[in-house]
């Protein structure tokens, strides 16, 4: 069985259920999948070429808009320092995201299990969320000695809230009849959490993870901007500020490119994780064939 291809398995199920086998649907789905990559990449390449041509043709000075080729050259030349900064931002982003997941899920589970705890603590979580992180960051930088820890707290505050709210909603969204069934079979609280509540919450959690992934990066960059940190052990935001002060616009663009690239990687990773977890059962991840 394990050696069967997806097409074979789909055919097996279709034979069993009596549904007509339609290879045309499979071909169309594959074509659509390829197009979803080819179209944006082609458009990107065309835009970059156009950018290069326009900059050269109009002789736009590099301190205004550098050509893509110059940005690439800068990337290569400053590779070591940019990579060190990227690594710093990557560490900050993923660590804050990991802490947001742990904190959001634990507090969310606590809220879902205890209404009094939710009523007591939820307003504070909302206050933390609605107060702009740029307004809190200077205080955190004063109270916390380590700059990295201060930046981490700022990024965590931004990424934490969507995980918390989605976990609470998700844990409460379990089918009521299934809840009744677990009650009838006298399931323990742990069994209920493990086999019913947690899987029911997964679609909500995965959606929140996609949002929180992006927010963790935004939080990491914004916090560094506010902190105005300088020196070798700093992130991409510091490289952007530094380049701005020195009017090194190609370097600024190179750092910006790396920030965007990191954002895309986070988006792809969270989308992939969502597909891995929900792909076989949840409507949001199932490709419908028309």
């Amino acid at each position: 069985m394990s050696t069967k291809s997806t097409t074979d398995r789909i055919r097996d199920v279709q034979e069993d259920t009596g549904a007509p086998i339609n290879i045309g649907h499979l071909r169309r789905a594959r074509r659509e999948r390829i197009l979803s990559w080819v179209m944006p990449v082609t458009l990107l390449v065309v835009a970059i070429c156009l950018w290069e041509i326009l900059v050269r043709y109009h002789e736009i000075p590099k301190y205004l808009i550098p050509a893509p080729s110059l940005i690439a050259e800068t990337l290569v030349r400053d590779f070591a320092s940019l990579m060190a900064s990227s690594w710093f931002t990557v560490k900050l982003t993923f660590l804050s995201l990991a802490l947001a997941i742990v904190g959001g899920v634990l507090l969310g589970a606590l809220f879902a299990l205890s209404r009094p705890v939710e009523l007591s603590l939820f307003p504070f979580a909302v206050i933390l969320q609605v107060t702009p992180v740029v307004a809190i960051a200077p205080l955190i930088l004063i109270y916390v000695d380590s700059t990295f820890a201060a930046l981490l707290i700022c990024a965590w505050i931004v990424a934490f809230f969507p995980i918390l709210t989605s976990t609470v909603v998700g844990l409460r969204s379990a089918d009521h009849n299934l809840r009744d069934l677990f009650t009838m079979y006298r399931a323990t609280p742990w069994q209920k959490l493990r086999y019913l509540l947690a899987p029911s919450a997964l679609p909500y959690f995965m959606a929140a993870l996609r949002v929180a992934g992006g927010l963790a990066l935004i939080g990491a960059v914004v916090a560094e901007f506010v902190a105005g940190t300088a020196g070798q052990h700093t992130g991409l935001a510091s490289r952007i500020i530094e380049s701005s002060f020195r009017s090194e616009i190609p370097r600024m663009f190179a750092a910006l490119f790396l920030v965007s690239l990191l954002g895309i990687v986070i988006f792809l990773l969270t989308s992939w994780a969502s597909h891995r977890v929900l792909g076989h059962w949840h409507e949001s991840e199932i490709r419908r064939e028309h």
């Binding site: 069993d16 069934l181 009838m184």
Partner: protein, 257 residues
Amino acid sequence: MTGEPIITMDRVSKEFGDVLAVDNFSLGIRAGEFVTFLGPSGCGKSTALKMIAGILPLTAGEITISPPKGDAEHDLGFVFQEPTLKPWASVFDNVYLPLRLAGVRRSDGEPRVREALKEVGLSRFAHSYPRQLSGGMKMRVSIARALVSRPRILLMDEPFAALDEMTRSKLNNDLMQLSDDHGLTVVFVTHSVFESVYLSTRVIVMAARPGRLVADMPLNAPWPRSEDYRMSIEFTDETRRVSETLKGTLHVDEIDH
């Protein structure tokens, strides 16, 4: 059917806030009976069923299941109006659920899951997911899940209401066969007079506002029944008798919508 009741409901009442859903309901159900709760919407038939299952607490009265429920094995199986399957779990895992909750290891439970799936005709679909199945097949999975723990009592809350006539008729016959094979005591909720007369050995007619028992009607036709029974004069007569009793309850409550 003779002997002591396996389920005894003694002056059971249930209130939801100010609403009296079930009022002073007393009933004894003996082992092997196929009892149907029949009545209009809001007559408390599902509430009564859920109280037997221990899903809803009682406001007053007592429900006894005799002999008392053991801890390891489950005495009750429950089938809801919807299949109520876990969409993230395979058919196998859905059926395995009651055993898993009872602490039965997967390897030990596997033969019983396979047997339950075989009984409902879904052996080949153990690794499918609920979304890949038709409505009737999902309901079969739900029945297999209710039977896998080998309960003595099967509680069913309008399980076939959402199915098409053909599927419903087939499942009616399969259910009678299964309950006969296993010697089950079945408590079945429906608002279909035809279904109640075809399936049951006893129909409990209920009225609404407040939900209460108005008639206890034994049906003496040989059981399990076959499709021929649906065409018989006896079936028509019984249907008319039950139907008129049911109409009487509507008249009593002056429900004209």
